[in-house]
Point group: C2
Chain length 235, copies 2
């Protein structure tokens, strides 16, 4: 099956979690907007196409099915791409973890947009500073500690002991946070040895290494979810 | 199977979406913390119990499995309680919609907590007013229009033409928004006839009507996600 991924062209964004899964598995896919422009997304977002109606990108076209929401797309692709261990409990555990990653992504995004996604960062700088401080002090350690502990416990357990799309998503989280909050992330270094080792291992997987070195990997920038604004990072 | 639902006792919160599904289906379940106190959640949240490690409540114990994240719990329960039409595409469509509902819930919550979930509303009143205005003007109509259109298109389609846990969750959204933002919701009245009819129909289902009239339904209050602060509502 040739999968069709639909996502905005200028940013990694939420589409990147799907892209990493497709790339890692060597799946046959088209990154449709990058070939034909962002306008190809619009008929889907206006409900003019067959299949489920997406609220927002990314969405995946798989045959006649349209699947939106990153965690739902990965729940679908995981078993088909060999990116989740077999069995109901592993699949559901992966879904729960990916949905927790989605929650984390919202909080990362809202550090620079605490008031309105529709307004510029510059219009919400003061609340952004406050939210970013709470994020660095409370939320970042809480989420990272959680995933570190899941990896620690996962080693001896079946559910997520094998490679999965969760590993790819955690790699992306670490890479993005290193870009956006280099100082804050440096301080967490010793708390997250397993996440660090995982991120390194994923970056070295042949298909991922080739992808990261290719023009298909859009560089991080200040239009996406992970933005580097020095005033939002730790000193 | 007797399901065990774990959620904080004082609020409807995210646990309510699971509770509505269990109640509507007449499932055998225990609302564990309401019988034994909030402390029963702690060993799970500290990773001291078997099974998947929840980041936060609600979580469901189903036999030896532990499932967290509202949308993952409902993806699991849906087919088992007859609360999703059969077939892969309907199940995935429901997952995508429930995950979109989860995103909406975060935005509803953040109207009163735009800076820090760990701080009181009173400490973030000024940014809350700004965020709530953007929510009322942009996000509330966008989400409601989307679900209205999904219902409109769903009528003629298989995927969600039958009763499902999505209907129950949409009922809860409408009920909560009516409580939190009565003026803003009154203005949307004409835009969402299908959502209004759905909410009315769900409230009249025998099991739901009995549940809503019972002490098991915790009243809305200013500790939960849907809070009525008049200064955050429209005039």
């Amino acid at each position: 099956m040739r999968y069709e991924l639909y996502y905005w062209t200028g940013i990694q964004g939420r589409g990147e979690y799907v892209r990493l899964a497709l790339e890692d598995a060597g799946a046959d896919y088209i990154d449709v907007a990058r070939e034909r422009g962002d306008n190809v997304l619009m008929p889907f977002l206006r409900g003019k196409r067959e299949g489920a109606w997406p609220f927002a990108p990314p969405f995946l076209k798989a045959g006649r099915m349209v699947i939106a929401q990153t965690a739902a797309i990965l729940a679908y692709l995981g078993p088909r791409l060999g990116l989740v261990p077999g069995g109901l409990s592993a699949e559901i555990y992966a879904q729960q973890l990916q949905q927790t990653i989605s929650d984390f992504i919202v909080e990362i995004h809202d550090t620079h947009h605490p008031i309105a996604a529709s307004q510029y960062y510059e219009e919400q700088r003061t609340p952004a500073r406050k939210r970013a401080q709470v994020f660095r002090d409370e939320r970042l350690p809480k989420f990272l500690d959680y995933f570190e502990q899941v990896l620690e416990r996962g080693n001896g357990r079946q559910a997520l002991s094998r490679h999965s799309y969760i590993d790819l998503s955690l790699f992306q989280l670490v890479a993005g946070l290193d870009y956006a909050f280099p100082n804050a992330m440096r301080r967490t270094q010793k708390r997250i040895p397993r996440l660090r080792a995982l991120a390194k291992r994923i970056a070295e997987r042949p298909n991922i290494a080739a992808y990261l070195a290719s023009p298909r990997r859009i560089p991080f920038n200040e239009e996406g979810i992970f933005r580097h604004y020095p005033e939002l990072d730790a000193r």
